[in-house]
Structures are given as C-alpha cells and as structure tokens.
Symmetry: C2
Subunit: 480 residues, 2 copies
C-alpha cells in the first residue's frame, strides 16, 4: 500500500472550503447543472475560471510546442476507434475493483476502502446496535464498517457509447480516458508529414473522461477532466537521459508560473509502483490541503505503446534512420521503434493547485480597517491582467478616458477590464480576489497631466505613471 492509499482523502482542511466558496462567489468554478441539483463531480468554469484555465493551457502550449523546434501539436478526436483501446489495454485492464456492502448497500472501490488486518475482529454499527465480526479481507465498508461484502467486480473506467443509430456490440465506442494514445496512433502520420527526425515530441491538450467511482477534492478528481500530454520519441539508448531532462523541465514550468517551491516535489516511483511497461517514472507532487498528491507524471514508457499498436493494427510503426548502423546487416540504415518519454499533466488539477497556492488572507493592519483576500496568481495566469477605474462614475470625461485606456490594452492583446461600480476601495478588493495584478485609476489629475495611479495587487503600492507608459509596464510583466 503506497502513501496515497493510506490517506483517507476526506479530512480536507478549511482551505479547500474557502477555495470552493471563492470559486463559486467570484465565478471561477460552478457546480455543473446546478439549477437541476448538480451532477456528480461535474464542474463548469465561470468567467474568471475559463480565463485562468485558458492562460494556463496556453502557457503550456507556448513552452511545450511553440518555443521548441522538436515538438509539434495535434488535436485528435475524443471518440477514437475502439481498437485503439483494445491495443492500449484499456478495454481489458482499465478497471477498478468494485464492491457492494451487503449491510448498508454502499458501493465503493476496494482499493480506497479503510484498511484492516485480514482475519482480525472488527466492530460496526447496524440496526442501532454495535456488532462484531471477522474481517475476511484487508478492508471494510467505508460507510458502516461492516466486513460483510460482495465479491470484487472489475468495473471499466471508460465511458461507453454507440456510434450510429442502433446500440449493438458492433458500434460500441469509448470516450478517450487519456489523450496520449492519439499521439501513438498518429506517430507516423505526424513524423512523415512534418519531416521530423528523432528525437521529437507530439503534444496534445484536451478533455478526457473516466467513470471514476471515487471522485474527490473538488476539481482534483472528476469524471470529465482536461489533460496536457506530450509523447517524446527518442533513440532507445537515450531514454534515461531524456527522462531526466523532462522531469526537470516540467518541474521548472510550475516554478516559472510562481508555484511555491516549498510545496512542490519530484518523487521517483519505487520499483513496485512502476507500471509493468515503464522503465522509470517521476511524479511531480504538490502539498494539497489533504497532503502530498499528484500533479503530473513523467514516465519512460519504452516502446511499449508503439509495439502494441503495431501488433494490433498490423501496420509497421518503425522509424527509419538512414545513418544508424543496423546490427543485423552491419550497414547504415535501420528501422526501429523509438522509446517514449511522456510528461502527462492535468490541466484541471493544475488550475486547483495554482488557486490553492495563490490564495492568501491578510489581516487588518495599521491604516487598514479590513483584511483582504488576495489571489497572488502569476500575471501570466491572472484572468484579468489590468482593471481600469474612473475615480468617479458620473464624470463622463473620466469614464471615456478609462475606456480609451482599456482599448489601448486590448490593442496590445492584454485582457483589460473596466469597472465603475462602487467606491475605489471595493473595486480594488474585488480585483484582489480575482487575482488581477494591476489596477489603474483615472482621476482629475489625469485631465491635467495625462497620468494615472497604478496600484499593485501584491503590496498595494501605488505609483503615478504617464498613461502612455501603462501598456508597456503591464506587457513587460506578462513576458515569459
């Protein structure tokens, strides 16, 4: 039993409640279909949340695809041929052990249930009485504690549906449980059309779906989630070096967006934790309110996936290197299956991590009667980059000037927000909670000397700056 299984996963600290409340109050994340009572573990991103998620995913794409010569992107269908999932092993093996409690009828995952010593005596409550019994297995019902349980049944985590008008076994298809397989299936198409030479990577972002029984921790584990994955194809003998490179590169990405290094760690998988095909694996973990848990996995998958797809499709998926000496012939020119390093990150999960990491409460202090809630998001992640306020709403010159400045930001591709409602202090407070790094206030002095007040979110410092410099000052903070 590894560290993750030992945690019960239910005793979240109050921080999680604060984040959930903030998300709902300010429009980061809503429960899906809320007016209909919600849907288990489904979430909708509101106006601030969608911008945060887009910024995060765009920054990944910039760093992983645009700013590299050796990685290209794809965007594949969510519904792929079912044979893809037969080859990958998801149809046969991608399942959770599911158990029903005979007493209270709870349905739960065996590997998430409270652990006990098999054969030991356990106490549990039923019909208002405390009962005793013997635990046959290494766990009991998480609801009532009973050891009277059904057999374990394997339950496939893939969502099944039918392509075409009639539901038959013939037209069963699945919602992808991961984006990764599309990169393997498209490996040769991409390599050949883009004339790529090893080593190179194929990256993809998008939704994946897992019919999870245990959903937990808000958007941390939900049935519908968003991934950012890359498969890096390399010569077999270089794969250890590339695994090392990618674990560091990926760790550094989180730091580059301002994540607290004290709460991030790289953890090498133990031998017994490794998937059977993996030659090595690291998790990037974050210290969530419930403990250290996964953010991203970086695995050396060897040639396992390409080999499986080659077998199942009957199509040759080898790469040809005209220079490499083929040991079979002793001559240059060799066909072989590359090995693969896979950095697989969760976009949804990263949104939660950055929200938790950025959340701060400041108590009242000298000169400030009220405390404040502030999201110290990196400017590149912040949903709104700059808010522009006319000091007085009724002064038409001020409102027109403020809107002019907003448009200047838009022309510079900066997401600026205009707000004239309530007193300036309340407008600042609203932007602090939204994570907006800069506020600009237009006032009477602006009319005289074309300057405005620039206010910084983190230290609430205020500076007088010329309007003409405003866009440049903000844009500089947004550069990688």
């Amino acid at each position: 039993m590894n560290e993750k299984q030992k945690r019960s996963g239910t005793e979240d600290l109050p921080l999680m409640q604060k984040i959930t409340a903030l998300c709902k109050r300010r429009g980061f994340v809503f429960q899906s279909s809320e007016i209909y009572g919600g849907l288990k573990s489904a979430y909708d991103y509101g106006p601030l949340g969608v911008e945060l998620k887009r910024n995060l995913m765009q920054d990944w794409w910039r760093r992983m695809v645009h700013e590299r010569e050796d990685v290209v992107g794809i965007d594949a269908s969510i519904i792929m041929s079912p044979r893809v999932w037969e080859a990958s092993g998801h149809v046969a093996g991608f399942s959770d052990p599911l158990v029903d409690c005979k007493l209270c009828k709870a349905r739960f995952r065996a590997d998430k249930a409270p652990a006990v010593t098999p054969g030991s005596e356990v106490e549990y409550r039923a019909h208002g009485k405390t009962l005793k019994g013997q635990a046959e297995r290494g766990y009991v019902c998480p609801e009532c504690g009973s050891p009277e349980l059904s057999e374990e049944r394997a339950f496939n985590l893939m969502f099944k549906t039918s392509l075409g008008p009639v539901d038959t076994a013939d037209n069963t298809v699945y919602l992808r449980p991961e984006t990764a397989q599309a990169m393997f299936v498209n490996f040769l198409n991409v390599q050949q059309t883009y004339r790529l030479r090893l080593p190179f990577g194929i990256a993809q972002q998008g939704k994946s779906f897992r019919n999870e029984i245990t959903v937990e921790h808000f958007i941390f584990r939900s049935c519908e989630f968003e991934q950012m994955e890359m498969e890096f194809f390399c010569e077999p003998e270089t794969s250890d070096t590339w695994l090392d490179y990618w674990k560091n590169e990926r760790f550094d990405w989180y730091l580059s967006l301002g994540a607290n290094p004290q709460k991030l760690r790289l953890r090498a998988h133990d031998k017994d934790e490794l998937a059977h095909y993996a030659r090595g694996c690291y998790d990037i973990e974050y210290e969530y309110p419930w403990g250290w848990d996964e953010l991203e996995g970086i695995a050396n998958r060897t040639d396992y996936d390409l080999r499986k797809h080659q077998e199942h499709s009957g199509k040759k998926l080898t790469y040809f290197d005209p220079a490499r000496i083929d040991p079979a012939t002793g001559k240059p020119g060799m066909h072989f299956l590359p090995h693969v390093i896979e950095p697989a990150a969760g976009a949804t999960r990263s949104v939660l991590m950055f929200l938790l990491d950025a959340y701060d409460e400041e108590p009242p202090s000298e000169g400030r009667q009220e405390g404040r809630v502030v999201l110290r998001l990196h400017p590149r992640l912040a949903p709104i980059k700059v808010a522009v306020f006319p000091l007085v709403k009724k002064d038409e010159w001020l409102t027109a000037k403020s809107r002019e400045i907003v448009k200047e930001f838009w022309r510079g591709s900066v997401n600026a927000f205009y707000d004239e409602k309530d007193a300036i202090g309340r407008r600042y407070a609203r932007q602090d909670e939204a994570g907006t790094p800069f506020c600009i206030t237009v006032d009477g002095q602006t009319r005289d000397d074309d300057t405005v007040t620039l206010r910084f979110r983190d230290d609430m410092r205020q500076e007088r700056i010329p309007v003409a410099e405003a866009v440049d000052i903000v844009v500089r903070k947004l550069r990688p």
Copy 2:
C-alpha cells in the same frame, strides 16, 4: 423542401479532393485512427491544423469576449445533467427520421433522400433487372432507387452513455449536442457573480457531439465537432435591434479574417424555416464547392430557453431591473425573463471554409518553371507566422544566427519555424502550401550588415530588411 435538401451532397467538385489531399499531405487534418482503418467521420488535426484551429478560435474569443465589456466566457462540462436536455427538448425532439430500404438494406435519413412525387411511377434496379413501382412517399432509396421502404423511425441524435458503474435508466447521461444550453443553465450564476446588467452575453467554445447518420463533406459535418456560441441576453423590446447588430457583427468577423466577400452571404430565414420559438434568424452562408451552405446561424430565440429551464428546474431565472417600471405595480423594480440573440458558429466548419477560401494554384510563369500551391490564409490564421532559413545548412554561423532570429520571434509571441532542409526554393514552396505569410533567409550578407531577405508569400516579393526590424514588421501584420 429547402434549397439544402435539394442538393444530393455527393458531387463535390475536385477542389474538395485537393483540399483533403493537401490536409493529409501537409498535416492539417488526418482521418482519425487511420492505422485501424479509420472511424466514420472522425478527424484528427495535425501539427498545422491544430494551429489553424487554435488561431481561429482564439480570434473569435478575442473579438467576442476579451474586446467587449458586455460579454464574458464560460467553459462547461460536456456531460451535463440529463434534465438539461429534457428541458431543452433534445431528449424528446432532437431526432432524425430514419428509414431502411427493404431491397438493398441501406439505412438513410428520409429528409436527405432523393425527392419524387408521391404516387408517381419510379424505376429502380434490383437483381440485375430494371423494375418499376409506385412511390408511396415523397422519396425513394438513395442507393438503389427503390420505393419499398420501412416505416420512418425517429432516431435521437444525442450520444448516450452512463455515469457510474451500472447501465440503468437512472444514470443515463448524454454528450452535449450543443454548447448553448450551458449558458442558459448558468445564466443567473454568471449574471450575479459577475454583477452584469442587461444587455450582456455569455460565450463558450468547445466540442459537441451528434450521432449524425449522414456525415458529409470532410470536416463540414461530422459526429464530433467544435462550436463557438454566444447567448446575448437583452430587454425583450430590443431583441430585433440586437439581432440586426449581431448578424452584421458576425458577418464582419469573417471578412476581417480575409474571407472572400463574393462567397459569403447573409440569408434571412423564411417564416416556414424558422424554429417554432424563433422570432427571426439569419444564416451566414458560404459558397462551398457543393453550393451555398451554412457557416453560422444568428437567431432571436426570445425567452424560450430560459422559460423552459425555469419550468423544468422550478428555479426562478428572472432578471431584476431596479429601474424598470413594472406594469403590474406601476412602480420601478421589475423581474422578467430576458430575450436572447444567439450567434452560433462552427469552428470545425470555419476551418474548412478558410482552407477552401485560401487555396490557390498558380501556373508556371515567365521566370518560374514550376507552378505552386499557395494557401492565402490571413496572417492571424496562419499556423506558422514566419519561417527562418539559413541559406546554407552547413554554415554554422548561418544556422546559429537563424535560430537566434527564431528565438527573437518567440519572445514576441510569434510562432516562428526554423527549416534548413533542401534548397531555398523548396523551402519556400513548403511554406506556401502551409500558408506561412513570411519567410526570412539568412545569408552571407547578414554577416556583413545584419540584414536578411524577407519574402512575402502572396506575391513572392523579396525585400532586404535589417534583422532588428524583422519582429516588428511581422507583428504589425498580426494586429487586428
């Protein structure tokens, strides 16, 4: 029967074949799961295609969300509560009339089958003979022409799946057939958390799924597709004005990205074409190789959707205007359901339109032995904005200098591409086909005076420019 139904939809002009071949050859769009024989009507976007689609969707988001005070974005779950689709009418009514041919066993949509006069005599082929028969209905089998047909059955277009481990009616859920309903369901959440006043819009981009029987025209109509939709909530008496505003605004967006105005038109729906709840509707149509067909619809949906969700959820979805005089009381302060204008665009469909529109072939001319294929994509849409070539691959100074210039572009958030393979002429030709608007060549002279050759895709003009100006010249062309 409208214009669309009269076209057979199969006699695509050769341009479609050219586009399909280019998409495959250059990595814009591949058939999904190709190594497994493909999947009906499912497509994967390759390295160039994913960039084109992202650019298109990003430009929509910029113009519809970022650069407007009155529109905010959301990103909702694909799997929503099934009650959403009961309220919207999709569970009961969202179906195609499906028919089987008794003779050749073809399954087809009644509303897409060849039209005949009911009661007329028709000829068809079976068992090697020409037969005659009487058409009972207004159509015959599209495969063999037979009038011997099964009854029409309604077939629901939504993909059905199960949330949770057991398939029961209780846990049936659907993949959304449109993104729009999420905006209605989240209307009050968004309005209240973002403190919005009428009129305002809620926008969303994302995948939708329809179990279409008739898929056609490459990525034009596929079961999995991507949408860009916005619901604009306004006072009931202003809805006609806003419909007018949005039809023009949306038409203008396509023009702003360089679409040929001769091939675009706005078409008002006839009274008998209108959905029963719609007060008015326009289609933006493009002249595809198979004729004029839909690109986007802009509809006045009145308060139909909010009213339906209010009824089904039992939750009040009215908007409160403190200033509006309530006719019931004669006093300020009124609760009412806003009316809605919906511009609903297809992202997948727009990608096809812009590819078709940009495709050009130039014959050989004086001074050029070979003709060329060129994609005249707007620079904002182009997957690669600028390609940088060292004149000679073996000169390390040239390759290093070229890569330095590429990095300068990256720092300016411009997607630049380095290429050193083959002769310069072939490198230009490759970029012409990819739609890259600018190429820069670094040569011996660069070493002396720090200038490079800038080559323009459209007219193949070449200019000598200082390296220091390169980024600015390109960035200026990318501004809206």
